[in-house]
């Protein structure tokens, strides 16, 4: 711990870890547009909830920004054409990050098209009612861009009996390598503030707090300058620590309150939105447009031209990798950040709305990248890393003897959100996070069966 941090008392939560940030490679790089891939695959299920329903037919021409699929229910969002082109096929076309192929709309890009967004109409959001705003947010196809991909409009409507009092705007970006939120805060400051005002209106919340880690002081300065005279929105600097961007952690840091175990932020009158999501809303809703592209950080030792790129949804990974270049030793392609992201088995996987970064790691030279696993020596490192104060050591031992029910009933397995802190610190190299992931799915299956 730095001495100055100890005395300056930056707001923080207890536990957590300090991995190397690796943000300097991309933090100063302005957002650049990538070329349009000749083929685009829009997955119908790239958000939490029901898949979208197709409203176009193969052979049909689509204009960039035009709706091509409608929401498949309340917890679902529509899709918009990311490029001007022709629908080539609608089928189980491409693999997903999870692995198996899934239904997608394939669009062949017209090479000569302007790719100007012609779709959508300007509207005055200050004249719209909260209900109209919620509808507009759903119609825009917006989901949480921080990685969760949860439909944004659902969080605007808290469960019966709950009211959103305060909005938390999450600008922590605690995952190593990723800087897209940082760039958005710097380059799209005004859109971000428009978005926050829009959300305040839609939820009826009285104030909003933007939480930003103290390694992004330039973003704090930019926001504070733009917020002069704004009394309902304020910026708070929080310690640079993983996983500060987890909503529970940020809430505790900013308000010293805890989300009840098994509950959601709305239970204590809060809604948490990622800065990227809010800035995108501030851009799309006034123009009546849909989400067709997003900022993606492409970084890591295996990337030749790391940076922040504006990428159309549905661009295949191999096209992006070709564009940014990859080193010979590149071995792991992670979608998301290196702490919680998933490696892909195939570069045919297309970019989805929830992809905040692509991190390419190189082969670890020594020992073939495999580390020897030792028995748990009860050093307690995982206990002092777990942001939820769980006992990963005990949970790991229980997983080893397949006592999944005990893990869930007595050791709060369900609270684990797989942040990876325990695996990160474990000197015995025990794959704790993976154990818990498996245990959770087994417990879930057992519950469904009974």
């Amino acid at each position: 711990m730095d001495v100055h941090k100890f005395f300056s008392r930056v707001k923080t939560f207890s536990h957590g870890i300090h991995p190397d940030a690796h943000k300097e490679e991309t933090a100063h790089k302005t957002i650049r547009r990538t070329p349009f891939s000749p083929e685009i695959y829009v997955l119908l299920s790239q958000h939490r909830g029901a898949p979208a329903r197709v409203i176009v037919k193969p052979g049909q021409e689509v204009v960039r920004g035009e709706p091509i699929a409608e929401a498949g229910g309340h917890v679902s969002v529509p899709m918009h054409a990311p490029v001007t082109g022709v629908v080539r096929a609608i089928d189980m076309l491409v693999p997903t990050v999870e692995g198996p192929k899934a239904e997608a709309i394939a669009i062949e890009t017209y090479a000569a098209a302007t790719q100007e967004v012609l779709y959508g109409e300007q509207r005055d959001i200050s004249q719209m009612t909260p209900e109209e705003l919620v509808q507009a947010v759903q119609a825009s196809g917006m989901v949480g861009l921080g990685g969760a991909a949860f439909p944004s409009h659902v969080k605007l409507l808290p469960p019966e009996g709950r009211r959103i009092e305060t909005l938390i705007i999450n600008g922590c970006e605690c995952e190593p390598y990723l800087t897209c939120d940082h760039r958005v805060m710097l380059e799209q400051t005004d859109r971000l503030i428009v978005g926050i005002r829009l959300l305040l209106r839609a939820t009826g919340a009285t104030n909003a707090i933007i939480g930003i880690e103290d390694n992004k002081m330039d973003a704090v300065a930019a926001l504070n300058a733009a917020l002069v005279g704004e009394r309902r929105i304020r910026c708070e600097v929080v310690e640079t620590k993983y996983p500060h961007g987890a909503e529970k952690m940020l809430i505790t840091t900013l308000l010293n309150r805890e989300v009840p175990s098994g509950g959601i932020p709305a239970d204590i009158g809060l809604a948490v939105y990622n800065v990227g999501t809010v800035a995108q809303l501030g851009d799309l809703i006034p123009q009546g447009r849909g989400l067709i592209e997003r900022v993606v950080t492409i970084s890591g030792p295996g990337v030749k031209k790391p940076g922040n790129y504006l990428v159309p949804i549905g661009t295949p990974l191999h096209f992006l990798m070709q564009h940014v270049g990859s080193s010979m030793q590149a071995s792991e392609v992670i979608v998301g950040g290196p702490m919680m992201g998933m490696t892909v088995a195939s570069l045919d996987v297309p970019i989805t709305k929830g992809v905040s970064g692509i991190v390419v790691l190189e082969k670890v030279k020594s020992n073939g990248g495999r580390q020897q696993v030792y028995p748990c020596i009860k050093c307690g490192e995982c206990l002092s890393a777990c942001p939820l104060h769980l006992n990963p050591s005990m949970l790991g031992q229980l997983a080893g003897i397949r006592e999944y029910q005990v893990m869930a009933e007595q050791y709060n397995l369900d609270d684990c959100f797989e942040c990876g802190c325990c695996s990160y610190v474990c000197p015995s190299n025990i794959p704790l996070t993976q154990y818990f992931r498996i245990a959770k799915s087994i417990v879930r299956e057992a519950r469904m069966a009974s």
Partner: protein, 351 residues
């Protein structure tokens, strides 16, 4: 090569890893023990050098043997067994018969560690299990002390070191008298204090110019080596702190009542094996709790027990039994000191 044909590896998150591993921690502990070992050899001569080699070798061979018997991969590469070997030697008298030391190593690692399943599964500190065994089996040899800085200690062995198995113990009294160290009574400062109420000079206790087990004599050296581990974040500082606090607080009222009979808290902290036990034995991660509250409680408990045994027990020294008892109680301490899970209501019982 087209990029689509590139072979990609699939791994599960997290994809980053802190680079401290078990063998690194253990290697650092061995490193931190070496100055203590060197000082001990300088103090007591080649007998201690041989003692260190014999216990370490015995521990390594025992672990290898049990690994082979239980058909597990050989685990001596994690360095933990070397710590056990060195620690065991440091708790024994300098002139301890080598065959008994080898037996202590065998019992300590075999009974204290391997039978439980090896590293990570031992209930008690293996080195102390070995020492407790020889304390019970050879009560005379384990309390036969020889003077530090004896002349000729680098050229000849203390006669008892080379005693043959099960032959009558070699009497060291003549040898000690020959060395003619002034006022050497064959008793440790602890025993002198307990039975004769003669307190040793604190400075001598700090530097280690007193009789005692091979590695327990210099409190300051042990403390410095421990601090190194604390700064490398490879040792809990809460356990030694808890022990010092517990021992100090327990002994203070007695000292205040009758200073001529009971030792001062400072003497309690600096004498005997308390420093070595607090810094290197009680901090065995496997046999201690994990939460900060648990570590404090565990330390305080050891400190309290040590003083109780020292003041009221039949033995002059109580650190070993205090730690062994605390090791056994450790799971219960861990159970009652579980931290409250984030967002869980206080009422819900978790353990």
């Amino acid at each position: 090569m087209p990029i689509r044909d590139k072979t990609v590896e699939i791994k599960t998150s997290p994809h980053l890893k802190k680079t401290v591993s078990v063998d690194q921690i253990m290697r650092n502990v061995v490193g931190a023990l070496l100055p203590v070992c060197c000082w001990s050899v300088y103090q007591f001569g080649i007998s201690v050098l041989l003692l260190l080699l014999v216990t370490t070798l015995s521990c390594i061979l025992t672990e290898s043997l049990f690994c082979r018997l239980s058909q597990r991969p050989n685990s001596i590469g994690d360095f933990s067994v070397i710590i056990t070997g060195l620690l065991l030697a440091l708790t024994l008298p300098p002139g301890f018969p080598l065959w008994m030391a080898a037996l202590a190593g065998f019992i300590g690692v075999g009974l204290g560690k391997s039978l439980f399943g090896g590293l990570g599964y031992n209930v008690m500190n293996p080195a102390l299990v070995g020492r407790a065994f020889v304390q019970a089996a050879f009560p005379v040899a384990i309390t036969t002390w020889t003077p530090a800085f004896a002349p000729g200690r680098f050229s000849e062995f203390i006669p008892s070191s080379l005693a043959l198995p099960f032959m009558s113990p070699v009497d060291t009294a003549d040898w000690v008298r020959e060395r003619a160290v002034d006022g050497f009574t064959g008793a440790t400062p602890l025993a002198l204090q307990k039975f004769h109420h003669i307190a040793a000079d604190s400075m001598d206790l700090l530097t280690g110019a007193v009789a005692g087990s091979a590695g327990e004599t210099s409190a300051i050296l042990i403390l410095v080596c421990g601090l190194y581990l604390v700064f490398r974040k490879m040792m809990s500082w809460r356990i030694p702190a808890g022990i010092f606090l517990g021992a100090g607080m327990t002994s203070l009222p007695f000292y205040l009542l009758s200073p001529e009979i009971y030792p001062s808290p400072l003497f309690v902290l600096l004498s005997g094996g308390l420093m070595l036990g607090a810094v290197f034995m009680a901090t065995d991660m496997v046999a201690s709790p994990m939460t900060p509250a648990g570590l404090w409680l565990y330390g305080l408990f050891i400190g309290f027990l040590t003083v109780v045994i020292r003041l009221f027990g039949g033995l002059a020294e109580g650190v070993m039994y205090a730690i062994l008892i605390a090791n056994v109680v450790s799971p219960m301490i861990a159970d009652v000191t579980q931290s409250r899970v984030y967002g869980a209501s206080a009422k819900r019982r978790r353990s």
